[in-house]
């Protein structure tokens, strides 16, 4: 039986997608550029320049020196999203002038972000019911920080969307033909977006093994082919281990050429897996569907990454190794947590859980947390011996949701993983938590309705769950509207809101974007040609504020307080010295304006007397 949603739910999902997309676009103009975003804008423009060269002089464009030069900038991230940002900018701004540059870059990100509520509804409606799916969809985008990150031409929300899409496709592939292929292609898109996706195969492997064992039970031919698949993988791993022992891991990477033993091992493995997969499909479709999604991920992941990232074309192994190395040894930026500036590992194990709890609106945190714990209990119940087993044990599909709800959270919780940046780094977990929240609200709402109906005669039982869902969503929507476009400053009620979080000693904001809160004052009051120091706003963002009409074009960027007439300092505990440097340079501690959200200083403006 297909796991696809019915016609009504497909329409609801489409409506959620279109509504989400329109909402993001409509609210985009006020959102500032986070520290990295202008770098991605610039990288996307570079992609367009290379594409133009590809049309004019294809031979030159695809050469090693040109691809190296063209894609060296920001090579720490794959090209997938930057390619889309660039094409959108070329089409919607450069060629047509339909939208301002920033909106043009961001539109592909809106598409992916808006797909999250759509997929959540499509999945949730089948897994738990229509109301559960709808609540999951709405609650994801109602979280202030999710809503903020959904606006950016960055990679965090896109990779969260693609993570969800891959797992959804993986789930559909068990019953629906061709979804194994979608799983592989979507995984390719995910790894071409951000490195988080590289962990997906490890997350999905246990489910593949479980499915394969179940599907091949009592089918010796299929089981034998599965064993041969495992043997081929084990043999390849053993050969790589031998090569690494002989050559050292670094030597293996250095000496990996097109015609070399490691390429031969990979080629033979690929051939063997393909042949075995074809035979498996002919032998038993069910077992094939169990393993095909992961096999497709193994094939299409590297293939898509390689195809869309010309920087890898001539040096795939060493550059991919350098890419991994960059993220494995990423610098640790200072980040405030409960009164401590986290500067270096080991980071507190509770960080991700506490920050999640403090930043989510409590009315959404409650169903997410109870949904996850309920699933944990029901999953444990499923493996209990018969007489201890209770009704409502978790299905494998639900365990898949639960494992993905925890995967990114647990990964970022590792004490050596960089912790700066806050929730955006474990965003891929959040859609799955939303799904569990949907189930919990529907279940609790229905039970409450059944209890209330006989007592409150006039209240239709069916109205209770939608009412409960609306009441739960309302505080989150209110908070999101209140804090927009400063979503990285948002804290939920458990933190005491934004002022409570300031007293708890939490990070006040992300870097750069909140400066939009004072650009209006600067545009109105800065002297003509004034030298302006926008603290923590890089030169590219300064240019972007000007070319998007958010900052007066006559204002000149200053390098620091010493050569500035006006300074806008972002409140970060780790940057206090820089505000003090403004006091010293300007001879005053009295600001002239500022962005204060619920009393908390976010960006403070000083003018040289």
């Amino acid at each position: 039986m297909s796991r696809g949603p019915d016609r009504i739910d497909r329409r609801i999902a489409l409506g959620l997608f279109l509504g989400g997309f329109a909402l993001l676009w409509a609210t985009e103009a006020a959102v500032g550029f986070v520290r990295d975003e202008s770098v991605y804008f610039a990288a996307a423009e570079q992609v367009v320049r290379w594409l133009r060269l590809l049309l004019q002089a294809p031979g030159r464009a695809v050469s090693d020196p040109v691809t190296t030069q063209a894609f060296d900038f920001n090579h720490e991230h794959p090209l997938g999203m930057k390619l889309l940002f660039g094409l959108s900018w070329q089409l919607l701004h450069q060629a047509s002038g339909w939208v301002r540059p920033a909106a043009a870059f961001r539109i592909p990100a809106f598409v992916l972000a808006a797909s999250i509520p759509a997929v959540l509804h499509a999945w949730g409606s089948v897994l738990y019911g229509r109301r559960a799916g709808l609540f999951a969809a709405l609650c994801f985008l109602a979280v202030p920080r999710h809503f903020f990150h959904a606006h950016l031409a960055c990679f965090d929300m896109p990779v969260a969307a693609l993570w969800l899409l891959v797992v959804y496709a993986f789930w559909r592939a068990e019953t629906d033909p061709r979804w194994w292929l979608w799983t592989g292609l979507l995984f390719g898109a995910a790894v071409a977006t951000k490195h988080n996706a590289l962990f997906l195969p490890a997350v999905l492997l246990p489910f593949t093994v479980h499915r394969a064992l179940q599907a091949s039970a009592g089918k010796p031919a299929a089981r034998s082919l599965l064993e041969q698949l495992v043997a081929a993988l084990a043999l390849a791993a053993a050969l790589f281990a031998v090569l690494a022992l002989l050559l050292t891991p670094a030597g293996l990477l250095r000496g990996w050429a097109f015609l070399s033993p490691p390429t031969a091992v990979v080629g033979l493995l690929g051939g063997a897996l393909c042949a075995l997969a074809v035979r498996l499909r002919a032998t038993d479709e069910g077992t094939f569907r169990a393993v095909a999604p992961l096999l497709a991920m193994v094939f299409f992941g590297p293939a898509v990454l390689y195809l869309v990232w010309p920087w890898l074309w001539y040096h795939p192994v060493d550059r991919f190794a350098a890419y991994l190395e960059f993220h494995a040894t990423h610098v640790h930026y200072a980040w405030m947590y409960l009164g401590h500036l986290l500067r270096e590992p080991p980071f507190p194990l509770d960080y991700v859980f506490v920050v999640t709890a403090l930043t989510l609106p409590i009315s959404l945190l409650a169903p997410m947390a109870t949904g996850l714990s309920s699933l944990g209990g029901r999953a444990a119940a499923a493996v209990l011996p018969g007489r201890w087993r209770r009704p409502g044990a978790a299905s494998a599909s639900e365990v898949l949701v639960g494992v993905n709800a925890l995967a990114s959270i647990l990964l970022i919780s590792l004490p050596d993983v960089p912790h700066f940046g806050g929730v955006k780094h474990w965003l891929p977990s959040m859609p799955f938590l939303a799904l569990l929240a949907g189930r919990q609200v529907q279940l609790a709402g229905d039970a409450l309705g059944a209890w209330l109906a006989p007592r409150l005669g006039r209240l239709p039982q069916a109205a209770v769950t939608p009412l409960l869902a609306a009441v739960l969503l309302l505080p989150a929507v209110t908070l999101t509207a209140h804090v927009h476009p400063y979503g990285t400053s948002a804290y939920g009620e458990l933190a005491g809101g934004i002022p409570g979080a300031a007293s708890l000693g939490m990070q006040r904001q992300y870097w750069s974007n909140n400066v939009t809160g004072v650009l209006g004052w600067i545009n109105q009051h800065a002297p003509r040609g004034a030298r302006l120091w926008l603290h923590e706003v890089n030169g590219l963002s300064f240019r972007d504020y000007q070319r998007n009409g958010m900052l007066r074009p006559d204002v000149q960027p200053a390098n620091g307080p010493l050569d500035a007439d006006v300074a806008a300092v972002q409140y970060h505990q780790e940057f206090r010295e820089q505000e003090v440097a403004v006091w010293q340079a300007f001879g005053t501690t009295r600001p002239v304006a500022g962005l204060y959200i619920d009393e908390t200083p976010q960006v403070v403006v000083y003018q040289r007397p």
């Binding site: 409606s125 089948v126 897994l127 738990y128 019911g129 559960a132 009164g339 500036l341 500067r343 609106p361 409590i362 009315s363 409650a366 169903p367 029901r378 009704p391 409502g392 919990q440 529907q442 279940l443 609790a444 709402g445 229905d446 039970a447 409450l448 059944a450 209890w451 209770v464 409960l468 009441v471 739960l472 309302l474 505080p475 209110t478 009620e493 933190a495 005491g496 809101g497 002022p499 409570g500 300031a502 007293s503 000693g505 505990q573 780790e574 206090r576 010295e577 003090v580 006091w583 010293q584 501690t589 009295r590 600001p591 002239v592 204060y596 619920d598 009393e599 908390t600 200083p601 403070v604």
Partner: protein
Amino acid sequence: MPSPEPAFPRLAAIQGAGFLAVALFALGFQLWLPRVLPGPADDRAVAEVLAREAQPGDVVLLHPWWTERARLFLPPGLPIIGYFGDEGDSLLEHPRIWVLSQPRLPFTPESSFSRAFLPGRTPLGAERRLGPYRLGLYRNGRARPVRFSAAEALGNASASVDAPDQGRVACVREGAGFRCPGGARVEASLHEVLYQPTRCLFVLPPGGPGSVEVTFHGVPPGEALRFEAAIVWEHAWKHGPHLTPLNAELFDAGTGARLATLVVEPGTEGFVAADVERAPESLRIRVQSNNAGERETCLRLRALGHREEGG
């Protein structure tokens, strides 16, 4: 279409009621929060009181420490203290402290603030309520008259670099400070030490065995001295074998006798301090670190009079 069936319907109904309670709490919180935030009229009321009643030497201490919006509207010239950990600051240069608090803000515990702030402080009159603000005036029993401050006396000081291979070379006066050989520098400026903005003697040592020396004359003799040294900003936190301790020594410039030695090890955040019972008439500070990288030093040397009566 499946619909999850609760294993325990009553428990699920209680959970639904719980969700409803949480949502109502969240809505209540969002309605309540704006009511505890001050408005322009409240700001004006506070500013008027302080403009009318503040005296020279007074200071305003913010509680919670981060409510620095007050800098926008409080009377100019009135120092405002608001940094993480400021409730423990002795504010020794200020005999009276105005505490401007917003006690109804979430997670603003009075008890921990009072525990750190109140010892040695006496309320002067009743606390005033100005909208969500509370404004209280305290006599600061921890205050000490500052008879001498190296940062303020730098204009009359001399500075030199003493290197084993070059001997003593005088630094060149540049603005309010000195530029010295070997990249060394001395100036009086504002810096952050463990989140605290402080005006101090900012010294960049030359590195190696050489040191910067700053000599002051006309120090009020007989007063107690407090000598403090810190590395500024994030440089203080940094540690590792490439960084070396900072050595700051205080001498009687007349006799050459060493009065105090401070060692700031890499990774030490905040001031290290030493007290000297009686100040001589002239003082010399010597600052040295083998590796001058990231040893941006903030020195405070103050001669402190006795606590005032009633303090």
